[in-house]
């Protein structure tokens, strides 16, 4: 084992080779920037045709048991004292819905056909940035639903008929103002 250090170096190389190999496989398809560009173009084209959906993200438990009534105040769905509890509930995995100005409720779902899925509060959704946002302080190119509860967002995705008046939506991309996770909320 005199030259064991070389075994160690070989191990590290093997480890990284594994990711590089997979990287290359992915690169043969589309790069991250190319994918983001397509998502952006898709979003803005849909927005021009009026195919995106604007709404506020609301927390399901308090909406359905009547503790809050965000449907009555679209501009400011939650009072100051309501916002913290609904965000806590959302991060405890209470379901988040998209509520539009006309009162339609959308339930975020995975794409049609996906049989085993996870809570849609968790996955990262590609965030579309406007030119002004790109020029400003760097923003993450993705978002998840929980930090956006109570905010107005614009989404692009597949809409499903759903059930009982509540529609399903697979959100492919999302657009919103600001960087809510850094906002101090008393």
């Amino acid at each position: 084992m005199r030259n064991w250090k070389y075994i160690f170096i070989a191990l590290v190389i093997m480890l990284f080779a594994q990711s590089v190999q997979a990287e290359e496989a992915a690169a043969k398809k589309l790069s991250y920037d190319e994918r983001m560009k397509i998502i952006e173009n898709q979003f803005f084209a849909a927005a021009q045709e009026g195919k995106t959906i604007k709404g506020v993200l609301v927390e399901g438990n308090s909406l359905f048991n009547g503790t809050t009534a965000p449907q009555n105040h679209y501009e400011k769905p939650y009072a100051k004292e309501e916002l913290r509890p609904v965000k806590f509930s959302a991060e405890r995995n209470s379901k988040v819905f998209l509520l539009t100005k006309d009162g339609t409720l959308y339930y975020p779902t995975p794409p049609k056909g996906e049989r085993i899925s996870q809570s849609m509060n968790s996955p990262r959704i590609p965030r579309v940035l406007t030119e002004a946002q790109k020029k400003g302080p760097k923003l993450k190119p993705w978002a998840t639903l929980v930090p956006l509860v109570g905010m107005e967002v614009e989404v692009f995705g597949e809409v499903y008929p759903g059930y009982g008046g509540i529609k399903g939506i697979y959100i492919e991309s999302i657009k919103f103002e600001g960087d809510p996770q850094f906002e101090k909320q008393d």
Binding site: I7, L15, Q18, S19, A90, Q118, N121, S122, P147
Partner: protein, 290 residues
């Protein structure tokens, strides 16, 4: 306690190189995770498994090393690999159990890690009473709290590699838990007195640890003690980024800054390896670190 030495240019050099190396390692670890998540998230759990196996093998391989310098250098890599794998396993658990991001942006895997706090305290309690543990902070607690009934174990340490790996894991674990408890809006909050206190304490303790680090002039102890020093500074980096005051170059992939960090890491790796090889040639035996 180590005999207090006069701070020499040599010890300043060793301290600087060790700090740059540990900082670079953490930054490269972070950017690797970010790049995988960004470009090919499908491989992340296999990468995590790979890190676990590599970490375990690396720690085992340290048994073939004599010098404490080589053992510490390689031991850190072992600990680093195992730590990576734990983070990935928590990511997987988060997906399986539907753990969401917190509304202040904390990631699911760290929200899960927060609740390993009691496990951390249990392991730490064991370490406090484990006679052969030579950690300076634990020594301090033993002395001040009068914890030990008898004398602690002394004598030569031969397994620096696994010890350093474990040190890396414990320190990283401790500070992640501390930060996550601070960020938890239902306990304290990102803008709470607790987070401000952690920020201020970390900033002050970093300089104290740097001063202590300057009394060592060999890569063995320097690397080992650079782990808590850099990790304490990392608390401030994390808190500043939580407050939105710092855009971490490894999260937002700022290649100009990352290039400097990677270059620093490469140069410091070269200097460490060169020094360790030179010491081996000169047949300088390492002394015990207490």
């Amino acid at each position: 306690m180590a005999a207090r030495k006069i701070i020499s240019m040599k010890s300043i050099f060793y301290t600087a190189v060790s700090l740059v190396w540990i900082f670079g390692l953490s930054a490269i670890g972070h950017i690797t995770m970010v790049l995988i998540e960004k470009n090919n998230p499908a491989i992340k759990f296999n990468f995590g498994k790979g890190c676990f196996v590599a970490g375990l093998i690396i720690i085992y391989l340290t048994r073939f090393l004599k010098s404490d310098g080589w053992q510490s250098f390689i031991g850190i890599m072992g600990g680093f690999g195992m730590w990576f794998s734990w983070e990935y396993s928590l990511m997987y658990a988060g997906e399986r159990m539907g753990v969401t991001y917190a509304w202040n942006g904390s990631y699911p895997e760290y929200r899960l890690m927060e609740w390993s706090a009691i496990a951390l305290v249990m392991v730490f309690t064991y370490l406090m009473y484990q006679e052969s543990v030579r950690c300076n902070f634990i020594y301090f607690l033993r002395r001040k709290l009068r914890l030990m009934r008898g004398v602690v174990a002394t004598g030569k340490i031969d397994n620096y590699g696994p010890r350093t790996a474990f040190e890396y894991i414990m320190i990283t674990w401790t500070f992640y838990v501390l930060l996550m408890l601070g960020y938890d809006e239902q306990l304290f909050g990102a803008y709470s007195w607790f987070t401000y206190l952690v920020f201020l304490a970390s900033f002050s303790v970093f300089f104290y640890l740097c001063y202590k680090l300057l009394s060592y002039d060999k890569f063995g102890p320097n690397l080992k003690y650079a782990i808590p020093t850099v990790t304490i500074l990392w608390n401030d980096v994390e808190i500043l980024s939580k407050w939105g005051m710092l855009k971490e170059p490894w999260v937002h992939i700022n290649w100009p800054i990352m290039s400097v960090i990677i270059a620093g890491f490469a140069v410091s790796t070269y200097l460490i390896v060169k020094d360790l090889r030179k010491r081996k040639k000169e047949m300088i035996e390492s002394k015990d670190i207490v």
